[in-house]
C-alpha cells in the first residue's frame, strides 16, 4: 500500500484536519509535515480541527502524517472508533475511519500512524 496522494486546490483555503475519537476513550495526537525531516504542526487532545501548515503553496509534494493514540480507561472496553478527515473549504479531500473494518475488538491501547502526500494544482 502506497501513501495516498490528495489533490489540493492552489486557490483554495489552507486544508484542515479533524481528528476525532469516539467511545469516550482518551485520544491524543501529534501531526507532522516532512521536508523530509518532520516539523510538528500541532499536538494535543482530540477532538480538534486545525489548519495544516501556514499556506497552500507550502504543501506541494509534502508528506503529512498523524500519530493518534487511543487509550481505554477501564477493562471491558470492547471496541474503539476514530476518524481523520482532511477538508479544504467545504470539500472533503480525504477521510479514514478506524478500525477498518469497523467493529473490530479493542485488544489494548491503540497507536495509529498514517499519512497523506499533497499535490497542489
Amino acid at each position: 500500500m502506497q501513501t495516498p496522494q490528495i489533490n489540493v486546490d492552489r486557490n483554495g483555503p489552507v486544508p484542515t484536519i479533524e481528528l476525532r475519537v469516539g467511545q469516550a476513550h482518551v485520544g491524543e495526537f501529534a501531526t507532522y509535515l516532512w521536508t523530509p525531516t518532520p516539523t510538528l504542526v500541532k499536538a494535543g487532545p482530540t477532538d480538534d480541527v486545525f489548519n495544516i501548515g501556514p499556506s497552500v503553496q507550502n504543501l506541494h509534494g509534502r508528506l503529512f502524517t498523524w500519530n493518534l493514540g487511543i487509550q481505554y480507561q477501564a477493562d471491558g472496553s470492547k471496541t474503539y472508533s476514530a476518524t481523520a478527515v482532511i477538508t479544504q473549504g467545504e470539500g472533503t479531500l480525504y477521510e479514514e475511519h478506524y478500525p477498518d473494518p469497523p467493529g473490530q475488538p479493542m485488544d489494548g491501547d491503540v497507536l495509529i500512524v498514517r499519512g497523506v502526500r499533497f499535490h497542489v494544482a
Binding site: T3, Q23, V26, E28, A30, Y32, N67, Q71, P102
Partner: protein
C-alpha cells in the same frame, strides 16, 4: 510454608476460634470466598435470574453481531435455543462511536442521561429443562443501571492526566507510516517501530489504570438491576408464561474525604426482591412451590495492600404460597492477610441463623474456612 506464614495461621485460628463456639462449626480448606454473601447488583442480571454461570457469553461489538445472536436464539420453527447468553451495553453499541470523552464528561458533578445510558447493561439468557424429558425453556431478560458512580474511571481527572502524559510522550515522537516504505523490508521496519511504540503505550497506560483502580475501587455509587423471566413448557415462543423476576439495588459509600478511610473502606447497603420463584420442595422430590422473598443487607470492607476485612450480613424474609413464612439472617466475616509477595491467607467465618425448619424449630449453622491464594479476594475489586 515459612515460619511467619505458620505463625499467622495459628494466630488467626486462635483469634477466631472462640467465635465458633456459638455454631455447629465445620472446618475445611476450601476457598474462603465460598462464605461470601453476594450483596452486589449482578453485572448480567438475566444469568443470575436463571441461576447460570455461562462459560461462553456473547458480547457483540456491532449491531450486525447483535442481530445475528438474537436470531440464532430462536430456530426456524419458533422454538427457543437453549444456551443463549447475551450481554450488551446498547447505548455504547448503537451510539458509542459518536460520543467523545469531552461529551461524556459534560456536567460531571450532576447526573447525566448520557452517562446513565452509557453504563446501562442489558442481558438475555435461556436455559432448558432439568432433564431430557423436560422440554421447557426458561428465558430471562436483564437490565443493570448505574445512575450515579463516583468511581467512574472516565470521570477521574488523575487517570486522564496520567494516560495523556503517557500518550504525549509516544505520539510526539515522529514515526513514518508503513505506507512510506520503499520495499517490503522498509515497510516491515516501519511497522516494527510502530508496534514497539504501541507496546510502550499499552504497558505505561496499564500502570495508570492499575493506580486508578486502587484509588477508585471503593468510591460511592448506586446501582439498580431487574430481571423478569418467562417459561415455555414446550420450548415454543408462543407459549411463554410469566415466571417471576428479581429486583436489586445496591448503594455503596466510599468514605470520600474521610482521612484514612477514603481509599481504604467501603460500605454497601443492598436490597433485593424476588417474586414468583419456583423453589424445590424438600418434602416432595421433583415438586416445586412458589415463593416471594425480600432481602436486605450490608457489607463493610476495609483494608490496605497488606490486609483486608469484610463484614457482611443479610436479613431474608421468605413468603411461600400456602406455607408458613420465615425470616433468617446470614452473616460472615472474611479476612485476607498478605503473607508474602504472592501468598495471601484467606479466612472466613459465616453462618445462618433464625431460620425455622419444618418443625418450626429455630436453628443456627456456621462454618469456618481458610485457604491460601496468590491473589487477594477481598481487596480493591468493585
Amino acid at each position: 510454608m515459612n515460619a511467619p506464614a505458620r505463625r499467622a495461621i495459628v494466630f488467626i485460628f486462635v483469634v477466631l476460634h472462640p467465635t465458633l463456639a456459638w455454631a455447629e462449626a465445620k472446618v475445611n480448606n476450601e476457598s474462603a470466598q465460598a462464605q461470601s454473601i453476594d450483596l452486589s447488583v449482578p453485572e448480567s442480571p438475566a444469568f443470575t435470574a436463571l441461576g447460570l454461570s455461562p462459560q461462553s457469553v456473547t458480547r457483540p461489538a456491532s449491531t450486525q453481531e447483535l442481530a445475528a445472536t438474537v436470531l440464532n436464539g430462536v430456530d426456524k420453527n419458533g422454538n427457543f435455543q437453549s444456551g443463549l447468553a447475551l450481554d450488551v451495553a446498547p447505548y455504547q453499541l448503537l451510539f458509542g462511536d459518536t460520543v467523545s470523552l469531552k461529551q461524556y464528561q459534560q456536567g460531571a458533578d450532576s447526573p447525566s442521561l448520557t452517562r446513565i445510558l452509557w453504563r446501562s447493561q442489558t442481558s438475555a439468557a435461556t436455559a432448558k429443562g432439568t432433564n431430557d424429558a423436560d422440554k421447557s425453556v426458561r428465558l430471562a431478560l436483564g437490565i443493570r443501571v448505574t445512575p450515579w458512580d463516583r468511581g467512574d474511571p472516565r470521570l477521574d481527572g488523575e487517570l486522564e492526566a496520567c494516560l495523556r502524559k503517557v500518550a504525549r510522550s509516544i505520539v510526539q515522537t515522529p514515526l513514518l507510516p508503513e505506507s512510506e516504505g520503499k520495499d517490503e523490508a522498509e515497510r516491515s521496519e516501519f511497522r516494527r517501530r510502530i508496534n514497539e511504540a504501541q507496546q510502550k503505550l499499552r504497558t505505561e497506560s496499564q500502570t495508570c489504570r492499575d493506580e486508578a483502580q486502587k484509588r477508585l475501587w471503593n468510591n460511592s455509587s448506586w446501582a439498580l438491576g431487574a430481571a423478569p423471566s418467562w417459561i415455555s413448557t414446550d420450548g415454543s415462543v408462543d407459549r411463554m408464561n410469566w415466571d417471576g423476576g428479581i429486583l436489586w439495588t445496591s448503594i455503596a459509600y466510599g468514605f470520600e474525604d474521610v482521612p484514612g478511610l477514603q481509599d481504604a473502606a467501603q460500605l454497601i447497603l443492598h436490597g433485593r426482591y424476588r417474586g414468583n420463584e419456583q423453589v424445590p420442595d424438600p418434602k416432595n422430590k421433583g415438586k416445586f412451590f412458589e415463593q416471594n422473598s425480600v432481602a436486605g443487607g450490608a457489607r463493610l470492607r476495609f483494608g490496605n495492600d497488606k490486609f483486608a476485612v469484610s463484614i457482611e450480613a443479610l436479613r431474608i424474609f421468605e413468603d411461600p404460597v400456602h406455607r408458613r413464612s420465615s425470616e433468617s439472617t446470614r452473616a460472615s466475616i472474611g479476612v485476607d492477610i498478605r503473607l508474602s509477595k504472592e501468598l495471601w491467607l484467606e479466612v472466613s467465618v459465616g453462618g445462618e441463623g433464625g431460620r425455622r425448619d419444618g418443625n418450626n424449630q429455630a436453628f443456627v449453622l456456621g462454618s469456618f474456612k481458610w485457604g491460601t491464594t496468590k491473589e487477594p479476594k477481598l481487596t480493591i475489586t468493585k
